[in-house]
């Protein structure tokens, strides 16, 4: 995570601009309601009827269609364009400078916006049902980003930024832009439109998840919070002497963590508590909700965005191949006591556990979270474990 003045570093947001997570809480459900394997399987099937888990070009039959004019509104107003309230969003939307936004100039990005809206994508993206180990409450987490719109946008400006800075193409990811130069203003507008798209994408997926919950469990999911972890944001910086100034905060693989009293939380629901930080771990070991503490100022008002990878994808597929049966069995038969209820197995939507995403390729989430508590940066409020996982596939 990096903080700059007057400069925007594109790698600080990367290709999947505003990748992030959203949590639904399902107050009517308890661990015992989701213990049954077949019910969790049925829920996965219902979600996949409504949420694209691939490229999005094959839209599931019950996925709502989106008009081009709605896309234009979403690119400018994010979650607000689809009626989501600001209090459940890190940023309901980020303002886009109309003078600098020209979607038609990056046709490859614009062409993907409509077909892929409401899709999870691949890699480590997912929809996951989880249970709180303490009280057995049921939650659903969605992890995804700006899809092809964001990727193509980022790629376009890496090339243009490299040309401006005199960098060779194979070093284009090192480019950077001054906020006040024309290309910088253009990138900022497009970057923010991608961020708006990602936020709306997560909330549209949520609506499909909510329908599936109602169909299978006759329960209503409520959005708890949504947050990005691949984003450059212009924020108020609180300096060690207590004064403030504005700067660009680049959280590439980091999550914003404003504690209680942060100037940018004034007037929001989170003013006196700090906002929640949503941290996914792995498909085996679950996730957590944290609340920032005063020590967050020492870490640039940021926490981690996950567990952190210990094994690259290619290496995982090679080296774990001979253990694939064991890994599948582990996911099928792992037993956990969650809220006093023993739940066996984690139901998945793929025939076999994706080796490059299994629990063995990530650091221990609790070890990572313990660092934050040790330094007074954040406290763990909820520790969740997965019971059903829908992996995005491309």
């Amino acid at each position: 995570m990096a903080v700059t003045e007057d400069v925007i570093i594109q790698a600080g947001s990367g290709y999947d601009i505003s990748c992030g997570v959203v949590y639904l809480k399902v107050p009517e459900l308890h661990a015992q309601d989701v213990a049954d394997w077949d019910k969790r399987r049925a829920w996965i099937d219902e979600v996949e009827l409504r949420v694209a888990t691939g490229l999005g070009s094959q839209r599931p039959k019950r996925m709502p269609s989106v008009t081009e004019s709605k896309i234009e509104e979403i690119l400018r107003y994010g979650a607000k364009a689809i009626g989501v309230l600001a209090d459940v969003c890190e940023r309901q939307y980020i303002e886009v400078d109309e003078q600098s936004l020209d979607c038609e100039r990056i046709a490859r990005a614009r062409d993907k916006a409509c077909p892929q809206l409401g899709s999870v994508g691949g890699g480590n993206h997912f929809v996951e049902m989880q249970v709180d180990e303490q009280d057995g409450s049921v939650w659903v987490m969605n992890h995804c980003g700006s899809r092809g719109y964001g990727w193509q946008t980022a790629n376009h400006f890496f090339y243009e930024g490299a040309e401006l800075r005199g960098l060779p193409k194979n070093r284009r990811e090192e480019s950077w832009l001054r906020a006040d130069e024309p290309l910088g203003r253009e990138y900022w507008a497009h970057h923010n439109s991608a961020a708006n798209y990602a936020v709306a994408n997560r909330h549209i997926i949520v609506s499909g998840v909510q329908e599936a919950l109602e169909n299978v469990f006759q329960a209503t999911g409520r959005v708890f919070y949504e947050i990005s972890h691949n984003l450059v944001q212009e924020e108020t910086l609180v300096l060690p002497d207590g004064t403030t100034k504005r700067g660009f905060v680049h959280r590439k693989g980091a999550t914003r963590a404003f504690p209680a009293g942060h100037p940018d939380l004034v007037g929001t629901q989170w003013e006196t508590t700090g906002h929640p930080c949503l941290v996914p771990g792995s498909m085996r070991d679950g996730a957590a909700i944290l609340y920032p503490l005063e020590g967050a100022y020492e870490s640039g008002c940021s926490v981690n965005h996950g567990s952190g990878r210990v094994m690259a994808r290619g290496k995982a597929k090679r080296e774990l191949a001979e253990k694939h049966d064991d890994i599948d069995n582990e996911m099928r038969h792992i037993r956990r006591n969650l809220g006093g209820v023993e739940i066996e197995g984690i139901v998945g939507n793929t025939k076999r556990t994706p080796l490059d995403e299994c629990g063995h390729v990530y650091k221990d989430l609790d070890e990572v979270l313990n660092v934050l508590e040790t330094e007074g940066i954040a406290k763990v409020a909820h520790r969740m474990y997965p019971v059903a996982n829908i992996k995005g596939t491309d």
Binding site: T4, I9, A11, G308, T374
Partner: protein, 76 residues
Amino acid sequence: MAFLHEVQKVSQAHYVLPKIGGMRTEVHAFLSDALFAQTDEALWRQAAQAASYPGMIGMYMQPDCHVTESRSAAWL
């Protein structure tokens, strides 16, 4: 220039790479001893490179940090 051996432990789970070479700011890293032991020169070199960008005034690594698979290794 090597970076790993320049890293200093400042508290139980807080390490700092001081500003050296072309770095414009020091790098703060929040790591347990065990997580720090898993870091390597490549990670700290990548951090130092990132800390050298124009306009940089603060750099913080979280406990889930790892060297990216990006070809240019421009960022963490």
